[in-house]
Amino acid sequence: MIKAWFKSGSPWIWLTAGAVSINLLLVVGLLFLIAARGLGHFWPADIVEYHYQDKSGQASVIIGEEVDQSLLHEAQAIAAGHEVLNNAEYLLRLLVKTGNRDILGTDFRWIQDQYIQSRSTPDDLVVIERREWGNFYGRLLTVKQDGAVIAEGEQAWQTAQEKLATDLELFDEIEQLQDKQLGAINYNLEHLRLKQRALELKNQWNDSKRQEFAAQKLAYEQDYKVIQEKLAQLNKQIKCCSIVVAEAGGKQITIPLNRVVKMIRPNEMGLLDKSIEYIVNFGQFISEDPREANTEGGIFPAIFGTVMMVMLMAVIVTPLGVIAAVYLREYAKQGFVTRIIRIAVNNLAGVPSIVYGVFGLGFFVYILGGSIDRLFYPEAAPAPVFGTPGLMWASLTLALLTLPVVIVATEEGLSRIPKSIREGSLALGATKAETLWRTVLPMASPAIMTGLILAVARAAGEVAPLMLVGVVKLAPTLPLDGNFPYLHLDRKFMHLGFHIYDVGFQSPNVEAARPLVYATSLLLVMVIVGLNMFAIAIRNNLREKYRALEN
């Protein structure tokens, strides 16, 4: 019976079906894993107060949010040096985010469920998001202004929130002055220096120029002074208030309010409040700058950098890819040359991305960039302008990398346009170029769009070559700002994919940054999967349309 069953081949068919199921489960599981971990990052979880008594009998209070659990089988637990009480089969361990890195040294702590005496979620526990040292968990005691207590007990919370709101406004103002205005002045001063150097190199530096430049410099320096005075005043204002808080062990510490980003009491929030908080958190995540070596705060510069790079790349890759595809489909005689080109296209698609990075670094950055510097920016020497990794070279490298994607997609679109349409156009007296421009390309535009979207999706996720040609972990300035010429192609930039690599593997506090990495991954995956689905949808739509045309 079994023998006959095997002979029928049916078990093998089931096995191949099993492979498909596994593949499916892998995809879904992976997306689910990223989603589950990434989405949780923004949820204001309840803060739990644990009364804890460990092996040594020492009683302590732990305040924090539970972030993970792990089940350790009894044997493994004993092998790892734990004791297992009550003959339990498993040892349940909880990972608690206790925050207070300045006091405890770490943000996280593994505790064992068996040692927990009691747990509760009192309403008065606060989470304070700070500009450094990570979160604080504990209780708010008093609010102080200029050293004097102005509120305590129940009023403290209200007062602290009010004071915090004014402080945050001041903080924004200071930021604005410091980054935008002082930044602009510094930029202009540097510009002036380069101009002077350029004139010197051309031997056109004379007294009239000297006076003109000195006057400009003086004007900038006066502006600078005014802003600095304003800044000093604001800085004094912002430092007026502080709060006194108590951590789990009862130790009191004072936190200046200007070092606080946000204070919430998640335990007293309802579902609606938490949902609003969730959305606010997500908004801040995508719109704010990172803090604390990228492990806290938002990822706005990374999103911005990725988008800029991808847009520049799209501008470069589209014409090139379309022309190549048009050549292959419309102009070339199918034969030896097209075969070679197809092999070349396939090779471009198959060459490891890191090789593109190496090529981009050597050829674009050092050779092209070095030449540009020598020709156009002699005044900046020895500091490189384009002779160092930057946005332009990254876009160019990725354009080369994604070229085959655009070619293949466009070619497929061109091949689906019925011959009758071209012949009709030619029969009416149009030249080949006119046929191409007026009928073929417009019809193929959705296919070009598909190719472009796929290229963008590919470029957005690529990291290895970018590490060599322009991405940095923290860029001081965005590639686009208010200083002439506005778009700075020579600047280094941040990138979502590299952000994941950097925060996940290079940061000093990987454990604390992990939720942020999951959230970033989720964002990237959503963008890329979304782009791909969009491209597939366009393609399918196109196929249907042409099928209708053919009939």
């Binding site: 493994q76 190549a324 490891p352």
Partner: protein, 759 residues
């Protein structure tokens, strides 16, 4: 005519055909577009060629042979001031110096021998210089042994300044231990042999006196805590050398060992860690066939000795510690320079290279790591007297006995690279045996770069192998089912669904592999292996029960929906594997598989290991292999399969005998392209392995691949250095590999397409 010119855009067809100028313009436009498109199309070939040739262009200097050429030769400056005992030159190859046996330092222009400055060394009146030695070529320190048992230490130094934006180098003589000679021998015997080493904390002298005593004198710096006063603690030791004759002496810069040798080849290594009581550590004869030692020097770094002999052979000897922690002096390699005695050896100051000259004036420049003879030339017509390589090893000076100084330019940019040093086993200094090692850089100048690409290639192939091991069965089986059995209504969702997997950024896969999968696998190791066995088995068992179900039930599920039905089954068995994993652990492996493996087989376990990489990278490769293989299977002409089925073959027989055979070139190219992808993948291996370049076959060990190595080291690599070029070579290797694999796959696919179209 005139009215067509006035309104060319709105012309009717008839008018157009009669308008000459506009027609010409249209035709010209057509031609221009055609040309632009052709250029655009061909530029794709150009792009791939530019990448290839650029990589080659950067790598090329590694491959070209070194050469040296004569620049000038002139009579030694101030010949009346005695004969040369030491030649040297400074960094920029502008100024050379000649020390003579009468105690003069003559600085001269390297280009033409013009005298720049003559310094008289403060040798007290009435005394002769009885011995002469340098304290390491890179420090410019020279010791003069005097005939009354004292010694003078001098250093030649060069100051660079830029008056009027022009470089000016000013030579000078400095006295690191003062201008008064230091008393080495209290008995005031002439010093016949001297060697010295100056360090930050210690200065050591090894002196042989006229009455054959060997003295080791060490001055240790004592810095007062409160002021900058420096005082010296002196330690004297009389070496007990029964053999008596010592002709060559060296002290290493760590002040750990002293090396003594005589002409007949007896080498003695002294442990001088205790400066008061040196101990003989090794004693051996390093010569054979009656050859005699004719010169001895340290290689840069003072770890190995270069011994030249009378038969023209140059040997590199070093102290090696083997696995049993047993030290011995071993000959790492030797070079046959010529048949004449090698009379002078001059190590390079920044690399593991050296200049050697024999008695007939044949010079050779060698690199020990690469075991490579870079240059061999004959200079001059008489016996060389002294020779020196410039600090950057790009020029050499050699004085012959007829009083001529020969100035040669040396072009030897990348001597440390040879076929053997890149791919073969190399016996590095202080290593127990020849090995494949990648360790490209370290902080110090005298580090021996270990640039064997073999461990990286091994890591690349190992990672790809396991990735393919995961990917091929899943992808190909999946492709077979999707392309041949699956119902079209399911297929239109499943196929793009799996293909989307391929669009996932590898940085995310790498991140998950490194931070989620690696700890997961570590805890659930047994579960993973159980999974590999249990899931296929479970599917089979389910299939068996399925076919024995009543037909009415089975008919609820349409043909080609197996994969969907199996989803819960696979999930159940996966869950089951992880549940029973710990029990298997307790039952068979005493609680923990990892500990059991270590105790039973000595297998170590890295958290980020090849298993994790294989799983993660397999996942990345699946969609690509799946997609191409599925295309090949799906486009097998339907009349072939229907014909087979009509002749009575079962669906499985049709698949195995007709479909897979016909589609096999496509499947082959799918596997090839997948392999190309796995080999070049960077982010996953970068994040999911420990990036340790070890050559270990174990699946539980980490690795480092060519691509990850480039990503890690390229940003720190100095442009145009040997390291930079070797990284480009790694990129070129990757490029070539994927080029061959992809071209092959594409050719196979093109042929297949033609075959199908003819069918």
């Amino acid at each position: 005519m005139s009215d067509t010119q006035s309104s060319p855009d709105k012309s009717t067809l008839l008018q157009l055909s009669s308008s000459d100028a506009y027609q010409r313009w249209r035709l010209l436009k057509d031609k221009l577009v055609a040309q632009a498109v052709v250029i655009g199309g061909l530029s794709i070939i150009a792009a791939i060629l530019v990448i290839f040739f650029y990589l080659l262009y950067v790598v090329y200097p590694l491959l070209i042979a070194s050469h040296a050429e004569s620049v000038s030769s002139y009579a030694a400056p101030e010949p009346a001031m005695g004969s040369t005992v030491l030649l040297s030159m400074e960094e920029q190859n502008e100024i050379g110096v000649r020390f003579t046996d009468t105690g003069k330092a003559i600085f001269f222009s390297v280009a033409d021998g013009r005298v720049i400055k003559v310094d008289n060394l403060p040798v007290p009146d009435g005394l002769q210089i009885s011995s002469f030695s340098h304290g390491g070529v890179d420090q410019g320190v020279i010791g003069l042994g005097l005939s009354d048992g004292r010694a003078l230490v001098v250093r030649h130094d060069y100051k660079v300044s830029y008056p009027d934006n022009k470089r000016l180098i000013t030579p000078s003589i400095q006295y690191p231990l003062g201008t008064d000679p230091l008393v080495l021998d209290a008995n005031h015997q002439a010093i016949t042999q001297l060697t010295l080493k100056l360090g930050d904390k210690n200065n050591s002298f090894l002196a042989k006196t006229a009455d054959n005593r060997l003295l080791l004198i060490t001055l240790s710096k004592k810095q007062s805590l409160f002021d900058d006063d420096v005082s010296w603690d002196r330690t004297d030791a009389l070496l007990d050398m029964t053999s008596g004759d010592v002709d060559f002496m060296l002290i290493d810069k760590e002040f750990r060992n002293a090396y003594l040798a005589n002409h007949s080849g007896d080498l003695t290594v002294l442990d001088i860690n205790d400066k008061a009581q040196p101990v003989i550590k090794h004693k051996l004869n390093v010569m054979n066939r009656g050859a005699r030692i004719s010169s001895m020097e340290f290689l840069n770094g003072d770890l190995s000795l270069l011994i030249g002999d009378s038969s023209g052979e140059l040997g590199q000897w070093t102290i090696v510690r083997d696995k049993q922690n047993h030290h011995s002096v071993q000959k790492l390699r030797s070079f046959k320079v010529s048949d004449a005695p090698l009379i002078t050896i001059n190590p390079e100051q920044r690399r593991k290279g050296l200049l050697v000259a024999d008695a007939n004036g044949v010079i050779g420049i060698y690199n020990t790591t690469a075991e490579r003879e870079a240059i061999k030339e004959k200079i001059g017509s008489s016996k060389p007297l002294a020779a020196t390589l410039s600090p950057r090893a790009n020029a050499l000076l050699l004085q012959t006995e007829d009083g001529q100084i020969h100035h040669w330019k040396v072009d030897n940019e990348h001597p440390e690279i040879s076929w053997k040093s890149l791919w073969g086993k190399v016996w590095y200094e202080s290593y127990a045996e020849p090995a494949y090692i990648w360790q490209s850089s370290a902080a110090s100048n005298d580090f021996e770069p270990k640039m064997s690409l073999t461990p990286l290639l091994f890591g690349t192939l190992k990672a790809s192998f396991y990735a393919m091991l995961v990917a091929i069965p899943l992808a190909l089986c999946g492709a077979v089912y999707t392309g041949y059995f699956m119902a079209p209504s399911v297929r239109q969702y499943i196929k793009p669904g799996i293909e989307i997997m391929g669009a996932l950024p590898t940085v995310i896969l790498g991140f998950l592999a490194g931070l989620w999968l690696a700890p997961f696998v570590e805890i659930h190791l047994t579960g993973i292996f159980t999974l590999l066995m249990l899931v296929p088995l479970g599917v089979m068992i389910f299939a068996y029960f399925w076919q024995s179900l009543p037909k009415v039930w089975r008919n609820h599920v349409p043909e080609g929906w197996h994969a969907i039905v199996l989803v819960p089954v696979v999930m159940f068995f996966t869950w089951l594997s992880f549940v029973i994993g710990p029990y298997i652990d307790t039952l068979c492996f005493g609680g923990d598989l990892r500990i059991w493996m270590r105790e039973e087989f000595g297998l170590g376990y890295d958290q980020r290991n090849t298993l994790v990489v294989g799983l993660a990278m397999g996942f990345a490769v699946i969609p690509m292999v799946f997609s191409i293989a599925e295309d090949a299977i799906f486009s097998v002409p339907k009349h072939l399969t229907t014909g087979s089925l009509a002749l009575g073959a079962t669906p499985w027989q049709t698949l195995a005998k007709v479909v897979i055979l016909t589609a096999s070139p496509g499947i082959f190219s799918a596997v090839m392209i997948g392999l190309g992808r796995a080999v070049g993948e960077t982010m996953i291996v970068l994040m999911a392995t420990g990036n340790t370049p070890v050559m270990d076959i174990s699946i539980f060990q980490g690795l480092r691949t060519l691509s990850a190595n480039i990503a890690v080291e390229m940003p720190e690599s100095e442009v145009d250095s040997t390291h930079y070029r070797v990284l480009f070579l790694a990129a070129l290797v990757l490029f070539m590999f994927t080029f061959i694999v992809n071209s092959l796959a594409e050719l196979v696919r093109q042929n297949l397409r033609q075959k199908y179209s003819s069918l």
